[in-house]
Amino acid sequence: MALIECKNVSLGYEHHVVATGINFTAESGDFLCIVGENGSGKSTLVKAILGLKETYSGHLHLGDGLKKKQIGYLPQQTTAQRDFPASVAEVVLSGCLPSKTGVFYSRALRKRAEDNMEKLDILPLKNRCYRELSGGQQQRVLLARALCATEKLLLLDEPVTGLDPLVTAEFYSLISKINRSLGITVLMVSHDLSACLALGTHILHMQNGSAFFGTVEAYRQSDLYRQFTEGGSHG
């Protein structure tokens, strides 16, 4: 059964429909990239998947025993976070919040946070202050937090905004590694079409209410892709 199944969904905010007829499925292990111009409803779709927004119509279903709380979400950074006095360990641990049962984090959850820091090579930064890290390191910390929250699905919202090209490439390879070696499904919203084509297995292109969904290969053959790249504004 598919991890996410989205059938003929329409979305909007403040009584204003921004996208209709969205159809896609994400199977376990997929790397699905969501592209499209600003205002095409990408962020609204992310919110709908997270359960923070109702769909107007259609059917959005999480399968495979995936619960909304168990999505590893990597939101866009806010300005307030940039000078937030928190240690790396505290931030990563807060990803375990949905699994917490008592007042404090259990030993097992602390171990999970530690393991994820190890996976992302940030264990040596454990006691460093979040605000003193570089942009790339901060993004790794937030990724480790997202991993703490999930075993199945990562949802990344414009994850490389503000990173320099070298750090961006590193970050992409990290996500790719997580996707392949840990078998975690990745949904990534991005403006970086070339990265999406290189990394992704599937593409969801949202535009003016209509949408394309298919494999990367199929997308390369589509009219939408041609228009999009020939338009010259993206890609």
Binding site: L52, Y73, P75, A80, D83, P85, V91, N127, A146
Partner: protein, 588 residues
Amino acid sequence: MGELLNFFVSHSFMLRALLVGVLISLCCALLGVSLVLKRFSMIGDGLSHVGFGALAIACAANVAPLYFSIPIVVLAAFLLLAMNEKGALKGDAAIALISTGALAVGVMVTSMTTGMNVDIYNYMFGSILAMSRGDVVLSVLLSVAVIVLFCVFYEEIFAVTFDESFAKATGTRVKAYNFLIAMLTAVTIVVGMRMMGALLISSLIIFPTVTSMRVCKSFRRVVGMSVLVSVVCFVLGLVVSVKLEAPTGASVVCVNIAFLAVFALLGAVLNLPQRSKLFRFRRVLAVLLVLLLLCGAALPFFGGIDIHEAKKLSVVTTSFAPFDFARAVCGDDAEVTMLLSPGEESHTFEPTPGDLLQLEQCDVFVYGGGESDAWADDILSSLDTSKKQIVRMMDVVELQEEQSLEGMQEEEEEEEPYDEHVWTSVFNAQKITAAVCDAVCAADSDHAASFRARAADYTAQMQALDDAFFALAKKKQGQSFIVGDRFPFQYFMTRYGFSFYAAFPGCSAESDANPHTVGFLIDKAKAQQTPVIFKVDLSTGAVANTIAAASGSRVETLYSCHVISAEDFANGETYVTLMQRNLAALDA
């Protein structure tokens, strides 16, 4: 140090202030961490203004201030959050609207009812005497609630503070936590603002977190350090206010400023870049700074409280007139103190802890008993007064209700119907001098003879003045004097039969005359071709100047003797010499 401790222990109001203050500081620090880091610090400021408005309305409507303002401020907190959430108005604009709006409503309600009285002034700048037993109970309950909630939901609060979107996505009830924090903040602010002042309470929320952020690198440490800094700053501020005889709220904020400065330096030193020349010395510098902070913090505890050892009889008076009478009667045989400093405004006077200590240790206390020293009655009721001689001037003379003169700007709902400026009639001044003389004689019978001799001498000088005023009133019969100011001379006017027009009643702190009143006085001045418009001492004379300019007259000063300017005080002016000035000014 021992004396200081004793002072706190022996005064229930100081203990209450200490307890409530420590608990409120603790709550403010905990809530502040979340508010500051979420960029919501201005909520604290906005809510304190709403609190002021609510207290002003409660005061006007004569309902219990706490039970009225807590729901209002909680409601405002919810409104602010909801507006922020909906995005209908962005946070800072919404807060500015609500806070200035509430302040304006508070001032309107106040000016239409009681006038800017002592209570309202206290709400703005705080009063250490404001803490009742009910407040103690409320603040204990409140702080227990805040601490328990903070401990139980610590991880959730961290998650919500650090990243709302992520917390929401992982199923944390972000809205509920935001409302919880806003509600607790609202209650904390209402309880704390009457001690710290509406204009200063939000500093308790903001300073400790900002200070801790300079040096602490994890959330847990910021929380711990904020609580520590907040409580330490409050206790130090309270001690400093006792020592320097300064208002408590402002002292606490100043201590917070000092802490912030030292912590900022400390943060800079600890984060020195490696290539800096000072890098090698950063540990030494840090240790030096911490030592400096500790020494600075210990400083207020040394040296005891600066109170004259009472070898002589100690007489404490509130304002200038009773001070002058006591000074004349006592000569060198007693230490006479005036609580109101020369040049200080009488109607908004608020006793400092040091003043209260003097009051407690004195042998004789002379005060008015009217609106501007209403605090004295409260304090006296909590003190052991069996060994004290107390003269309440309004008990000594025949009281007159404060009358409204023709054309005077009305003040509705006067709390205290009697005019408190009883000494403006020289006859009353003689009576009060006699009463003060009786009191000091009773307190110190060894010097009774010299007390009586001096009192007789001074009342004789007053008698001459009294006769002179009667003669003047006869001469000026049918003529009206115009006072473009407050009018504290009612007893004076009635005693001698003068006729006056004036802008405001005696105790009014109102300085904004309405155009109608000013117009009336200008018409009177023109019709009578009055050569002189009077203002009252220590007033800016804005209204008198306006009238004088419009009617082509000059401005002269009348002395109420309630307060005295620093200059006149230094020159040794007395009640009699100031009243002689009045005589000359009126005779012109």
